[in-house]
Amino acid sequence: MNPKQINKIALIAILLIAFGLPLVIRSATYLHILVLLFFYAYLTTSWNLVGGFAGVLPLGHAAFVGIGAYSSTILFLQYGISPWIGMLVGGVLATFAGVLIGLPTFKMRGAYFALATIAFAEGFRVIVENVDYLGPFKINGPRGLQIPPLDTGLANFLFTTKEPYYYIILIMLIAVLILTYVISRSKLGYYLNAGGEEPEAAMALGVNVARAKLIAMAMSSFLTALAGTFYAQFTLYIHPKSIISLDLSFEIAFIALIGGRGSIAGPILGALLLRPVGDFSRIYFGDTLPGMHLVIFGLVLILVMHYQPRGLQEPLTRLYANLVQRITQKTTGR
């Protein structure tokens, strides 16, 4: 076996496990946890297009999740439009919002950019939280919107069991991973990396850094908004505190930083580690120490940044490469 074959086999095995899990796990609770795990992996992968490749640290992506969730839910509740269409509308609106934020802020460096994005997302949350109507659209202020689970079925993006949600988010995750892979090997990927690392040198080599970042931001905000619709349809209840909160923006960044920014496997590894930690700390400390999961995330982040500043993906990919090499040597007999 050569390394290419081994990679192929590993990939097929992971896909089989991912698609087969709901056949083994019958508990709705565990399936719910898994769906949220994929949801966060998806969000972080979308975030990674800007936060990883373009080398900036956006901390306001919850705003895009909110735009996606509210757009599709309002269209569904008030006009009976299928959430699948609402999903795309939310995506387009979020793209506009993303470009609007990106235009003035991409010239800022480091913490200034992060602060500007936090300010935008928080402003958006405060608006949504304090008005009941946004023009003709009923958003219900802090009480949020509830989707009655009446006409279930694929057309309405409503299901009585968890399995359909599991497969939808899994397919979304795989799609966004493929997209990331393609971009990372394209001209845009090279330009984003170069502009993120040494903007001056990149510009002198023909890279319009601001333009590359804007394209990445547009894609990232579009994809993030799609996840917002998914979340609304999955939990059937959205309110500003749950989907436009800073907690959500921070959790995405935590997962990315711990897993490894700018790598394809990073967001997945980060979600695999942090989501279960978060869920179990909420189960065991939920009533005595709420918010314990964020403290634990902070500790993990400090440890990872100290020992593996490029995230967990680095030692793990090295481990995997060694393993592949060993298998290659054993099977070819050397």
Binding site: S186, K187, N193, E198, A204, L205, G206, V207, N208, V209
Partner: protein, 241 residues
């Protein structure tokens, strides 16, 4: 044919006039040197020509087109490439990746960009290091990488900002050969350098500036014997010699 013409170029930073109505013109196929004591305004002049700063006054003409205030990435596409005095590699990426960023200027295809990048690396006898992380290179190799990246954009005019500073004498001789080869392949070169041995051996024509103003221009031989230049570098006392 004149490839680059600068006339009356001035760059003012607040009260400091870093470049003061500088005139020069570079013929196609020349190696043109720019020298001057520390702080004379050499790098500022480069930054204005390459689009990093817009000049306060004056006209810069490149390939019969006025390029004042155009953005660096547009100038790069028009055939004007530069290196940086303080090298700026994309440190977490391999040498090949670095050069590919540059070779993407003329193509959207990854395989074409890779092919071009490898060709450039081979021409600089650098291809054996293509998979090394650029952050782990020696200073000589980093300078070489700067040149490789600039060359991969297929420039008509190459602006080199002190590519020999910090090199050992043997490495300087190598670099002189490399630059001569690049010129022979049809690229005009505009070079800032402090190492006199190198710039004297390389240049067809040299301009000397001090406090932003041109104080001499001529062939290397003329410059070496110019009284103003000796004064600028060594002080009044040595001027008589």
């Amino acid at each position: 044919m004149i490839l680059l013409e600068v006339s009356g170029m001035t760059k003012q930073f607040g009260g400091l006039r870093a470049v003061d109505s500088l005139d020069l013109s570079i013929e196609k196929g020349q190696i043109f040197g720019l020298i001057g004591p520390n702080g004379a305004g050499k790098s500022t002049a480069f930054n204005c020509i390459a689009g990093a700063f817009a000049p306060t006054a004056g006209v810069i003409t490149f390939n019969n087109e006025k390029i004042n205030g155009q953005k660096p990435w547009d100038l790069c596409k028009k055939g004007l490439a530069r290196t940086f005095q303080i090298v700026k590699p994309f440190a977490s990426k391999s040498v090949l990746y670095n050069v590919m960023v540059a070779s993407f200027v003329t193509t959207n295809s990854r395989s074409v960009a890779e092919e071009k990048a490898i060709k450039v690396l081979e021409s600089l006898s650098f291809s054996d290091k293509k998979d090394i992380l650029s952050g782990n290179l020696t200073i000589a190799d980093r300078k070489r990488l700067e040149i490789a990246r600039a060359l991969a954009t297929e420039p008509k005019l190459l602006l080199l900002d002190e590519v020999m500073a910090g090199l050992r004498p043997a490495e300087v001789d190598d670099m002189v050969q490399v630059l001569k080869t690049i010129r022979d392949q049809g690229t005009t070169i505009f070079v800032i350098e402090h190492i006199m041995r190198a710039i004297m051996a390389l240049s067809d024509r040299i301009v000397v500036i001090q406090f932003g103003k041109k104080i001499a221009e001529g062939t290397p031989k003329e410059i070496a014997n110019n009284e103003n230049v000796i004064k600028a570098y060594l002080g009044e006392d040595y001027a008589v010699a």
